[in-house]
């Protein structure tokens, strides 16, 4: 039926898969090289603070997960003109669109990597939250992983929370 949450660890391999997906998407789409920072594993509720965040759920019969890509407006305003042109003003709609698509591409690739390891995961539809200095919190008190990424003076983060389900399907 596919591997279970107990086998999907928040570990170096997962952080590499996240790094490859983020770096690949940023380089191919925006022609920018982002540097991954050291990943952190934590426990309990944590809030990310950003200006525009892409959020997506991932499920399997024995696992639920949420992944967040959290960026600042300044980061998006720095990278978007590399695709749309330097003379084009970056609008809210473009920002929403870009982060939504980035979320889809990055987490789609991570899902593919995990499914290649036998997890049979499905992704939900991405949501994008926009607002200067908003908080995004996983409603989850279990383990999570945060991977920071750096581009020039900018920093953005990917956050993954995993929640194994009990065998009767109840959380």
């Amino acid at each position: 039926m596919g591997k279970t949450a107990q086998h999907l660890a928040l570990d170096e391999q997962l952080s590499m898969e996240i790094t490859n997906a983020v770096c690949g998407a940023m380089e191919h789409t925006f022609n920018v090289k982002v540097k991954p920072g050291k990943f952190e594993i934590g426990e309990g509720m944590v809030s990310l603070v950003g200006d525009v965040s892409g959020v997506i759920g991932m499920v399997q019969d024995k696992l639920e997960a949420t992944m967040i890509l959290c960026l600042k407006f300044e980061t998006v305003r720095d990278i978007l003109p590399r695709v749309v042109g330097q003379t084009v003003s970056v609008t809210h709609e473009m920002t929403l669109d870009a982060v939504g698509e980035l979320t889809n591409m990055i987490f789609g690739q991570i899902k593919t990597e995990l499914n290649g390891r036998g997890y049979s995961l499905k992704l939900g539809i991405p949501s994008v939250i926009m607002g200067r200095g908003h908080f995004v919190s996983h409603f989850h008190r279990g383990k999570h992983m945060i991977v920071p990424f750096y581009l020039d003076d900018h920093m953005f983060q990917v956050h993954v929370a995993l929640h194994p389900l009990a065998t009767d399907g109840q959380s």
Binding site: A25, H28, V83, E93, A98, T112
Partner: protein, 146 residues
């Protein structure tokens, strides 16, 4: 047979970022006759109108997930019509599951591109697609002669 630069292309994707990215790469390959659609219905409308005006698209990039009508539904619609047999339909998607690739190929997709794709890989793909179009049209011309 047309050069790469003479090709007429439609990019159908509901994301502005993707439409712009593909457009930029096509322009770097000297393709300038490019139109875009933001959903499946608009794509169908543009493709049909272009054919009626005797200026059909050579290549149509189709996003897998689009509002109103999906990329796969657009593909199925045109592959059931023989007058579009030499139009290259290329699926653009973040899904790289084997089953989706098989669905697209069975439905008659000329090729399949998984996002994110580098400009270099997209340019290579363009070359392959162009070769497919040339082969298709040569075959059609030979059929007409007999």
């Amino acid at each position: 047979m047309s050069q790469l630069s003479q090709l007429k292309v439609l990019i159908a994707d509901d994301h502005f970022l993707v439409r712009q990215f593909v457009r930029n790469t096509l322009q770097e390959s000297k393709i300038s006759n490019i139109q875009t659609a933001a959903d499946g219905n608009e794509a169908i409308d543009l493709i049909q109108k272009a054919r009626e005006a005797k200026q059909p698209y050579d290549i149509v990039f189709l996003d897998w997930n689009m509002p109103t009508v999906s990329g796969l539904e657009v593909l199925n619609y045109f592959r059931s019509r023989s007058e579009y047999a030499d139009t290259a339909f290329v699926m653009l998607t973040a899904e790289s599951e084997q089953q989706n690739i098989m669905k697209a190929i069975k439905a008659g997709a000329t090729s399949y591109i998984i996002k994110p794709v580098s400009p270099a890989d997209l340019s290579k793909k363009l070359f392959e697609i162009h070769e497919w179009i040339k082969r298709k049209r040569q075959k059609n011309e030979q059929k007409l002669r007999f």
